[in-house]
């Protein structure tokens, strides 16, 4: 049985980690190579790099960053942000990403998911779904939450799996940055509707939040600020999960 994955996420722009990572042992907390290596050392099961730059120059920096992180990192690396085509994905994979995440471009042109899965395999094709609460359910939002699409999150998640997605990175737009914990009904609704692994994201600030997300049906949890702020190490989070009987890789 696979263990639950604890996945540190780094936002990168122009070759640097943004939102600051506070590691005491690092010379330079803004260096994605050092930050990834430190999280791997702590027991991180994968690393997600999210390119938040908005310019073509930024995109080419991202490829360079992936290359440098890959040279050092002996665990899986997922890269997302700004992927709009098979050739964008190919550039990241050739630089050393193992999986590629798509978001806005998949909503604009769902066929992209199939193209990626056929070219690189489902296990390589991650669809990021950003969800905002909307009455009884959730609506897909894109362009960093600025555009509401009217798409139902559960229906869209099912659709992308049919199109070939091998994994869903599910972010609660309402919870992201609040520290109030993952949106558990959202996790439950999506994980209960698709056959592929679901990574819960958005809102974690306490180890108990991770335990709850696993209980709601996700098989992996994305963590960012609670690690970056230096409040917890990956190891501490995994101990907390193990204490609650959740299987983690030691």
């Amino acid at each position: 049985m696979t263990s639950v994955r604890v996945i540190p996420c780094l936002d990168i722009r122009d070759g640097r980690v943004v939102k600051g990572v506070q590691f005491q042992q690092l010379r330079d907390a803004g260096d994605p190579v050092e930050a990834s290596a430190a999280y791997e050392e702590q027991g991180g099961d994968e690393i997600v790099l999210l390119d938040v730059s908005a310019t073509p120059e930024g995109r080419s920096h991202a490829v360079d960053t992936v290359r440098k992180v890959r040279a050092e990192l002996p665990i899986p690396l997922t890269v997302g942000g700004g992927v709009r085509s098979v050739s964008d994905a190919e550039r990241l994979l050739e630089a050393g990403a193992d999986k590629v995440g798509v978001n806005t471009a998949a909503v604009d042109r769902p066929q992209l998911v199939t193209e990626l899965a056929e070219r690189f395999g489902a296990q390589c094709t991650v669809v990021s779904v950003d969800a905002a609460q909307n009455g009884e359910g959730w609506e897909v939002v894109v362009a960093s939450g600025q555009v509401r699409t009217g798409l139902d999150v559960v229906g869209w998640s099912r659709q992308v799996v049919e199109l070939g997605a091998g994994e869903i990175l599910l972010t609660s737009w309402d919870r992201d940055g609040t520290g109030d914990g993952y949106d558990l009904p959202l996790v439950e609704a999506v994980a209960g509707s698709v056959s592929v692994p679901v990574i819960a994201s958005g809102g974690a600030s306490q180890p108990g939040h991770l335990v709850d997300a696993i209980g709601a049906g996700s098989t992996a949890v994305l963590v960012a600020s609670m690690l970056h702020d230096g409040e917890f190490t990956v190891g501490q989070l995994k101990w907390a999960l193990a204490d609650e009987g959740v299987g983690v890789r030691p």
Binding site: V4, D45, F120, Q123
Partner: protein, 202 residues
């Protein structure tokens, strides 16, 4: 020390190359058919589907030299879909012909668990294994062998039932998991294979 990597599609060659570079090994990508036979150590990584991997081997003309190399028991490491290529066929791509080193067929995981299997799973080696030790390995697969083929030593893992995590025979090692993504445990596994095959191929 050097390894020659057989391209079976685009993705993941960078991860495999980086892992060998960290181990202090020179890597090259096979371009000419003759290199498959000439190289002291060959690595066959694999991503994507069984069918697309067999197709790219055929297009490049690597099928025959690979079958010969493996039949001769020469140092060869096969990863993920690379390992699956040894089989006769796969449920993933009906009609696609594997290398047929053994007659077994791959089937899809039959489980309520999420598929693909994406994540770290515990590997239980055969007690006679030269390479595989107990530990956690990173897997990314939907299809698998359920038992080790005749004549090969198998390591196993559990995902809604037992499946084959790795097989080995002499200097040949085939892993369903990704040693290049399996942290220190994976790096140590690669080093054992490199060292063991060094005696035969200095």
């Amino acid at each position: 020390m050097s390894v020659a990597i057989v391209p079976t599609g685009t993705a993941n060659i960078a991860s495999v190359t980086a892992a060998f570079t960290r181990a202090g090994v020179t890597t090259s990508i096979v371009e000419e058919v003759t290199e498959v036979a000439a190289a002291s150590r060959v690595v066959v990584p694999g991503v994507g589907s069984f069918g697309s991997a067999t197709e790219s081997l055929d297009t490049a003309g690597f099928r025959q030299p690979l079958v010969e190399r493996i039949s001769d028991g020469r140092p060869t490491l096969l990863i993920c879909v690379g390992m699956q290529l040894l089989a006769a066929g796969s449920e993933e791509s009906p009609g696609a012909r594997g290398l047929g080193i053994f007659a077994d067929q791959l089937g899809q995981f039959s489980t309520e668990l999420p598929v693909p299997q994406l994540g770290w799973n515990q590997v239980v080696p055969s007690e006679n294994s030269r390479f595989v030790t107990p530990g956690w390995a990173y897997f990314a697969n939907s299809f698998r062998l359920d038992t080790a083929p005749a004549g090969w030593l198998g390591a196993s893992a559990e995902y809604g039932g037992s499946f084959v995590a790795a097989i080995e025979k002499g200097d040949m090692l085939a892993c369903q998991f990704h040693p290049e993504l399996s942290g220190r445990w994976g790096a140590a596994l690669l080093e054992r294979w490199l060292l063991a095959t060094e005696e035969a191929n200095p």
